[in-house]
């Protein structure tokens, strides 16, 4: 990646943002009196603020980068992660589940599990969740530091530590409120920072219709750009559902409709949006029950529209590359270090070996797929090139695509100084607030669900406030440690993420049975969850996606079944884990005795809880009505982009 030079005005925008987030923490410090102020912010924040934070806690930088990457790889079908994989679950959370989270005395999602079932399920959930948040924030900070290093030439360690310290300062002072406020700031930053870039790219391509025309030619021969070896119908990139209905071979995702709707739209999406404390915590901070229920609904509005900012850039990039606009190409995978490569290239050029052997030697030195013609012309030009020009040419000859670099390649292409600072600040903001989100969820779960529950119960509140602050520092240090771990052992990191995927897949079954079936018992929940997790691990051990070798990608015990793509494997894995957890919980519950009385389950289970009286002034503002309206809008979007 060629680095870009930031001007003074760009640094000014960046510095101003940092000054504001720290300033917000500074002001909020005065309100942090109890551990609850610091950790849960309960009852203090208006719904539109928690709503935007709810949405933006999930709009981390990895999401931004990843969605643009998927937009390039799969086209508009990527929007299913929003329209199928988020909106219905958010509406369900608001209408059906929020009353139990907010209405029970639970301060966290694991604590709900303790109230509903017992300590075992809570311990399982809180330990995995705490570990997951730390790893997630570490992975994202590693990505940030790497990006700043490649893009701006900043020192990796300095970038990592400086950003972490900024997060530490404002979270330590303002706690969850700080994190929520900066998430709102980040939301506007992303919208206002990326909108002009997308607009310029769209204008450059020549408008929406022109983009679809180019995407149609790409779809019939995506191998020309090195995107996909297969060929598709012309609408594979520009229609959301038609390619899916044609089966896994008709769409670049390699996914069938059932896996998409049940696996992603039901199991994974409800599992994430309805049970992940990171997002649910935002709603629980709302001012009152009605604000808490409106939080996911308010979040659903921008969530529905955000694909225009995060997925469209990927599609535009493919379109631009296909048009060859000003020599634009999809960014090649960055070469980490040229040491060793340059000398091989020079030696090869000097020896004048035959072209094929020369190409093989250079390819081996770089360790990636290269473009044969570009290597040949590079070798021819070697004597005339200075070292940095040589490095540039070597990088340019890499033909493997760095999809994660797509969004930045557009920022670099279209942003003059000034706008550049704004767009980069948006990216940086989403990284930092992602870390803050993880750390604030981590410190709550640690303090209430692990420390207070098992290590030091019945202390004074000042003690827990102190612990909450201390563990914020610890959480950030652990994140930094994970970032270094991720940068050194990316394989180990893949395993860690895989294991968390196993744990998460069945989770929604436990919650949905817990909330809507009074007969579900503690034994049923605990062993059902364990069984579901074991199922995911087994499923993974016995299945493989086409094109992958057995190993970390699955099938290391034996390959019983092969899926057309990793995404399909993933969706099916989740579906199986969910079903096993669901039926196991039901079976064990029926075989064991209830340990909680009806009275104890009041406020925790649907049938034991008196119906909520909607206190909204207008019937149109009731959560159920708003939910139906939102689902209607979502259907309309799906039809428009059918």
């Amino acid at each position: 990646m060629q680095s870009v030079a930031l001007g003074g005005v760009d640094y000014f925008v960046l510095a101003l943002y940092v000054a504001f987030v720290i300033g917000i923490g500074w002001v909020l410090k005065a309100y942090m009196k109890t551990s609850s102020d610091f950790l849960t912010a309960r009852g203090s924040i208006p719904a539109w603020v928690t709503g935007l934070a709810f949405m933006s806690a999930n709009l981390g930088a990895l999401e931004l980068v990843g969605m643009a990457a998927s937009g390039a790889k799969y086209g508009i079908a990527t929007a299913h992660f929003y329209w199928v994989g988020a909106i219905p679950a958010m509406v369900f959370l608001a209408v059906f589940m929020m009353p139990f989270y907010y209405g029970s005395k639970a301060r966290s999602v694991p604590e709900y599990l303790k109230l509903r079932f017992d300590e075992r399920t809570r311990a399982l959930n809180s330990i995995t969740f705490a570990a997951m948040t730390v790893f997630a924030s570490g992975i994202s900070m590693n990505a940030l530091a790497k990006l700043l290093n490649q893009l701006l030439g900043w020192n990796y360690h300095m970038a990592l530590w400086v950003c972490s310290v900024v997060v530490l300062v404002y979270v330590l002072r303002g706690g969850l409120t700080s994190a929520i406020y900066t998430e709102v700031l980040q939301f506007f930053m992303i919208v206002l920072g990326f909108a002009p870039v997308v607009w310029l790219a769209l204008k450059d391509v020549g408008g929406w219709d022109r983009m679809n025309e180019t995407l149609a030619t790409v779809a019939t021969a995506p191998s020309k750009l090195g995107i996909n070896e297969r060929t598709f119908a012309p609408d594979a990139w520009s229609s959301a559902w038609k390619p899916l209905l044609g089966g896994p071979s008709a769409n670049p995702m390699g996914v069938d409709v059932f896996a998409m709707v049940f696996g992603l739209g039901f199991v994974l999406s409800f599992g994430y949006w309805c049970t992940n404390f990171l997002v649910v915590q935002r709603a629980m901070a709302a001012r009152n029950m009605s604000a808490a229920r409106r939080t996911p609904l308010i979040a659903a509005v921008p969530k529905m529209l955000i694909p225009a900012l995060v997925i469209l850039p990927g599609m535009l990039a493919v379109s631009l590359a296909s048009l060859g606009q000003d020599g634009y190409r999809l960014p090649p995978k960055p070469i980490k270090s040229y040491s060793g490569i340059v000398s091989v290239v020079k030696a090869t050029a000097a020896e004048s070996v035959d072209p094929q052997a020369a190409f093989a030697r250079v390819s081996a030195a770089v360790g990636m797929k290269l473009d044969e013609a570009k290597v040949a012309s590079l070798l021819h030009d070697v004597p005339t090139l200075a070292d940095d020009a040589l490095e540039y040419r070597i990088q340019d000859s890499v033909s493997e695509i760095d999809y994660d670099g797509v969004i930045l390649s557009l920022v670099k292409k279209y942003c003059p100084s000034g706008l550049l600072g704004l767009a980069l600040t948006a990216l940086l903001a989403s990284f930092m607030s992602g870390m803050a989100g993880n750390v604030t969820a981590f410190n709550t779960v640690w303090t209430y669900d692990l420390y207070q529950a098992y290590i030091a119960p019945k202390k004074r509140d000042e003690h827990y406030l102190w612990m909450a602050r201390a563990v914020t520092v610890v959480g950030i240090l652990l994140s930094i440690a994970c970032a270094y771990f991720a940068s050194n052992y990316s394989n180990a990191m893949d395993v860690v993420q895989l294991v968390f995927g196993f744990v998460n897949a069945p989770l929604f079954a436990t919650f949905v049975l817990g909330m809507f079936w009074a007969r579900a018992t503690a034994h049923g929940a605990f062993f059902g969850l364990l069984g579901g997790t074991a199922t995911s691990a087994l499923f993974h051990a016995f299945t493989l996606a086409a094109g992958n070798a057995p190993g970390i990608k699955g099938g290391y015990v034996g390959v019983l079944s092969t899926f057309p793509s990793e995404m399909a494997q993933n969706f099916w894995l989740a579906s199986f884990a969910f079903l096993v957890c669901f039926f196991l919980t039901v079976g064990i519950s029926l075989a064991t005795k209830r340990t909680k009385t009806d009275e104890e389950l009041k406020g925790l289970v649907y049938s034991m809880t008196p119906r909520l009286a909607d206190d909204e002034k207008h019937w149109i503002l009731r959560p159920a009505v708003l939910g139906v309206i939102l689902l209607g809008c979502c259907v309309v979007l799906n039809v428009i982009f059918w």
Partner: protein, 71 residues
């Protein structure tokens, strides 16, 4: 919570917008605007940010006035 988030949002985007407009105004003929298709995107987008910031401040101020009793 005592802090209305619209104040910091308004102040921040208002300031960034203003700076971008001024910067764009003084760099109008710079070749770097070829990147943004010949449009002086700093002036235009800076103005949008400035207006957005202003609106945020306006609404925050309005709420503050309505909720604090007159002295």
């Amino acid at each position: 919570m005592g802090l209305d988030i619209r104040y910091p949002i308004g102040l921040m985007f208002g300031t960034i917008g203003l700076v971008m407009v001024v910067y764009g105004f003084f760099t109008g003929s710079d070749p770097m605007y070829q990147r943004s298709l010949g449009i002086n995107v700093n002036v235009w987008w800076g103005a949008v940010l400035f207006v957005f910031g202003g609106l945020m401040l306006f609404f925050a101020r309005k709420t503050t006035r309505e909720t604090t009793p007159k002295a």
